[in-house]
Chain length 193, copies 2
Amino acid sequence: MLTYFSIKLGTIMADRKTVRGAPIKTPIGEQDGIDFSIIELFFFAYRDFTSDPDEILADYGFGRAHHRVLHFVNRRPGLTVAELLDVLKITKQSLARVLKQLIDTDHIVQLPGPRDRRQRELYPTEKGRALALALARPQSRRIRTALGDSGLGNRASIELFLKAMVNPELRAQIDILPANPTQKLSGNDHGEH
Amino acid sequence: MLTYFSIKLGTIMADRKTVRGAPIKTPIGEQDGIDFSIIELFFFAYRDFTSDPDEILADYGFGRAHHRVLHFVNRRPGLTVAELLDVLKITKQSLARVLKQLIDTDHIVQLPGPRDRRQRELYPTEKGRALALALARPQSRRIRTALGDSGLGNRASIELFLKAMVNPELRAQIDILPANPTQKLSGNDHGEH
DNA sequence: AAAAATATGTCAGCATTATTGACGTATTTT
DNA sequence: AAAATACGTCAATAATGCTGACATATTTTT
């Protein structure tokens, strides 16, 4: 058995690494019923979309994770740490690192929850608000240009499409966020869920 | 000077960390002329979009980087290492690690370039083709559903929008890719820039 | 009132994916 | 023959995620 195996390796297969499949030379394509164009456009689009703020963030020694935290704290001032974790879908240990830096640099402040003093409500400072705006500006400009390029009436379609790309369970969170043109926010009580 | 500083810290400011900006309690919103809705929808959509293949990849001990390499090698069989680097916009050291794993696991094979034997043309094996399809399937399904949800005629608009979101310099590369439904490869001269 | 649960914070270690810098080897171009 | 190019590899570092363990304050349950 061992002999057979080594003969096979030594003579027929040479070594494990020479047992290779043949190269396939035809491109994969939509003929397989799969929308590769949109798939890779999504990759390229998102990469460039995030590159705008990345450059600004680098000046502050921040990364993409800081951006996300800053963004949602600005969108929902007063959200608690637990709520933020639920939106970002990361662990508290991952959040802690970036949140601490944002607090230490006075972009975000914490207030004890009024009903439950264990909670920490997160608010942007003026500095944090300004940075959030500065980060969003080039992204918004890119979107505006892209909408212009692809026809002005598309914004609603794009928004519907993107929302439909999100897992259904998570769409509820999106609707919590304020000033969505498609819906008004009567009272911002993030008291349950 | 030192005394003044410590008095200031000790009595007025207590320590550096207590000099905090006031919490801003109003949500940032579209009133600033910035399209926060689309910005965060893009984040949520992309996160869920990539989560589908991530689960499959985990079974192979692969990550997102492997997916990207496998995708583009399947889309453009025979591309060289340099071309792949140019598409992915990463360093060769970053590519090396994942490419090596894909070659060792017989998902990708290398052939010396026919004209220039220093080059390595990359091809998928049948195994690599199958995995690329398996990874793309749930993503394509998600897109199809989202397009259905947001109206059937939107596909062209979505494609235009996403393409317009990509940096202009990079759109040439996108047009190289095969079987784009909106354009035939015949009149596709990406020869300028 | 004591015990349990919850919200948050923190320490330590690890994985993935990216980076920069340096250097080696084969091949092609000058 | 020398220089440039394409690719591979080693080493160190950074950002962002993860798990596990444990501490502290506060609230809820018993």
